[in-house]
Symmetry: C2
Subunit: 197 residues, 2 copies
Amino acid sequence: MSASPQSILAAARELFLEGGAERVTMRNVAERVGVTATALYRHYENREDLLRAVVSTGFEQFASYLSRSLRGKTASERLRLSGEAYLDFALDQPQMYRTIFMSVHPTGDCSPAQVRAQEQAEPTWSSTFTFLVDRVRDCMEEGSLKKAPARETGLLLWVAVHGLVSLHLVNALGEPDATFRRTYHATLARIVAGLSP
Amino acid sequence: MSASPQSILAAARELFLEGGAERVTMRNVAERVGVTATALYRHYENREDLLRAVVSTGFEQFASYLSRSLRGKTASERLRLSGEAYLDFALDQPQMYRTIFMSVHPTGDCSPAQVRAQEQAEPTWSSTFTFLVDRVRDCMEEGSLKKAPARETGLLLWVAVHGLVSLHLVNALGEPDATFRRTYHATLARIVAGLSP
DNA sequence: GTCTATAGGTGGATAGAC
DNA sequence: GTCTATCCACCTATAGAC
């Protein structure tokens, strides 16, 4: 059996999507690849290193989901598509969403693992926020949103979107995905209505 | 040394507030109480039992925070105080907030631990939601909120409040508590403005 | 009620043979 | 590159002496 970094990463990713980070143990990954645990250390320094690679793929995927929304022809269409992309990612990859947006990434200097996790996570948060603010600004220039500080409006939208998604992902709303999509759309529509001219 | 159920629970609670459930191990608790781990089994059946007791205190505390808001004299004052109580709880007991509102409690029948956790959690979610909806209905009758389906408006407010709090608790907003309080108030004010007559 | 001793489990990581 | 053998750390939980 030959184990490439790619095959190892793929196995680790599978396990992660199935059951989150805790499921990604050297032993579990090795078993799925078809080698022993020690073999993995030829390709990844340690578990933390492997886990970081897994989460990296998640960050990239999230960014690619969001960027799809730029294909919209009008500013308000692009904003709508952003909301859609955000929802799609959360429902397609709930474990990734939890890791990126629902896990603690401390501010203070802590363990090296957490410091590195934050270095990855922070750009994702701030670029998510920035992306939304840009969509909002476009809409304000286009006239489809009331003029207001774009950062405040962007935050308001992010908070609503994340609030909905994260409550759904812990089953606090008690809705299946399909029903939740309607709740999501309806709630956002009401919020956007309050921000429209 | 004598170890009462209370002293054990207190130690477990301390550890939980410091570092979440994972820190609550029989060994850690025992060390803090001043006995050996095996002694704990005289007072709690097992770790799950002890952890459940810890989380129970959190649920009760959350309920007591919320109920304080009923002292407000007008409906809109009570709604405002509810938002304040929610924020206070989240900032006072972030680990508890995470456990109650940011941890997965699966819908399907899973391990006994998760089933029991859900039995505890679900009433808390739905009673939180119901509590908010009641405040909203009061406000609508009072005329301080536009007439609309109270459940939808209540959900909208819960989503906003939880979105703000949970992003703050994972440090996604990069604000210290004091600054965040202002962001919280400002954002909610804008949302409520959109719902006012 | 609390102790010591102990069983049995999961997981990360290394040394050295092949 | 991968294996076996092994060590270490940490956890839950029980049996039986005191």
